[in-house]
Symmetry: C2
Subunit: 216 residues, 2 copies
DNA sequence: TAGATTGTTAATCGATTAACAATC
DNA sequence: TAGATTGTTAATCGATTAACAATC
């Protein structure tokens, strides 16, 4: 498997391809050319072929790409077949929403358990996932291979929780706390969902769209 | 106000600057140079000066940038002073989480109301925001200036709801449904929060990090 | 076979970085 | 004033697009 210096732009397009391929499969399509895929996704055929060629040769001249094959390749590149184990910390509304609606298993992940400090939550379960006492978290992390932690704790607990879990060897954090985590271990991966960055960006474009026409 | 062809890369860094400036303000700092800001954010001083210079001259030679001034400029560029009105549609766990925890007003937005189809929810309120019957949505949109709709409905309702609201003149959608909305009006702005894209990206890097060292 | 479409190399375009005169 | 740091122009780097020989 060739894996070398692939740009983050390419990587972030892979899940989009995957989503599109699922949609095409659902619609009953079984093959597609780079030009048709580009048309549907708003990308150039060149870019699509370049993107795929970072990882191998998945197409066939004169035919295009077989959707099932391509989907399998991309899901493998993304590691969806690795059965990564996940733990969620902080079962507020957002944590709750992710447990019940995100569909971890549908993406190839195992959501092993959730943790919270709130006594009323401890021992209950949502969608088959038990909520455990935060106090038992280090023990849990030490006795289970946990690949990814979903961090949905309140902002004030973000950095201390991050420190706790990275000390226990967790190497990847899916961060919903809307702060930039300060982690001194350079091997820990952090993927942020910054709600506010997203909404403010939308606010910019809205302001921009209103600007040139009339300066009200 | 100069507004011309500013790249999306620049725009998406603006909220990050804002977050950093808020943090610096909280820490009691009142000025900063592009090199120190770059050091703290992992950007080059050149890039920071280039970014800001897209919008004006906010610094001072030999001094740097006044944090309060810079913050005000950026928040204006993002349109945070425009008092945009927002409506949220779909009060499941996620919608609920956003209403209670996102802090729309803290970002300069007015969350006017929420809508859902579930009878048990209609007429109740969370954090002072009333949940109204979806059936009353068109009336509401026609009699109120609603700038942005937060779309937190189930996936199956995504496109029909998007069609409904764009027909009522809504020009911006903050989309949490994890599908690519099909909207035929090119003037409607859509900003997606694709949870799965984010997690899959993290999965890629995790897989990648495990790859070169040992192929286990 | 002829037509279609890939994978890849070369060309272009845009974004980031470096350099430096201007100036607080 | 001297030192620091900006805003901006030029240089570099990287990503996207175009072109085309290979081939299914």
């Amino acid at each position: 498997m060739k894996r070398a210096k692939i740009s983050s732009n390419v990587i972030r397009r892979l899940p989009r391809y995957l989503r599109k391929l699922d949609e095409l499969t659902y619609d009953g399509t079984d093959r597609i050319s780079s030009s048709e895929l580009g048309r549907q996704m708003g990308l150039t055929p060149s870019q699509i072929r370049q993107d795929f060629s970072c990882f191998g040769e998945f197409g066939q001249q004169g035919y295009g790409y077989n959707i099932e094959t391509l989907r399998k390749e991309i899901s493998q590149i993304l590691g969806m077949d690795r059965g990564y184990n996940i733990v969620l910390i902080g079962v507020g509304n957002l944590g709750h929403a992710l447990i019940e609606n995100f569909g971890f298993s549908g993406h190839g992940y195992n959501l092993l358990a959730a943790f919270d400090v709130k006594p009323a939550l401890i021992g209950t379960q949502f969608a088959g996932v038990y909520i455990n006492d935060m106090a038992t978290l280090p023990d849990f992390l030490n006795s289970n291979k946990v690949d990814i932690v979903v961090l949905t704790v309140p902002r004030r607990a973000a950095n201390s929780t991050a420190a706790l879990i990275t000390d226990c060897g967790v190497k990847a954090i899916w961060n919903f706390t809307n702060i930039e985590l300060s982690i001194n271990n350079p091997n820990v991966l952090v993927e942020d969902i910054h709600f506010s960055d997203s909404l403010l960006t939308l606010g910019y474009y809205l302001t921009d769209a209103a600007s040139p026409g009339s300066d009200d």
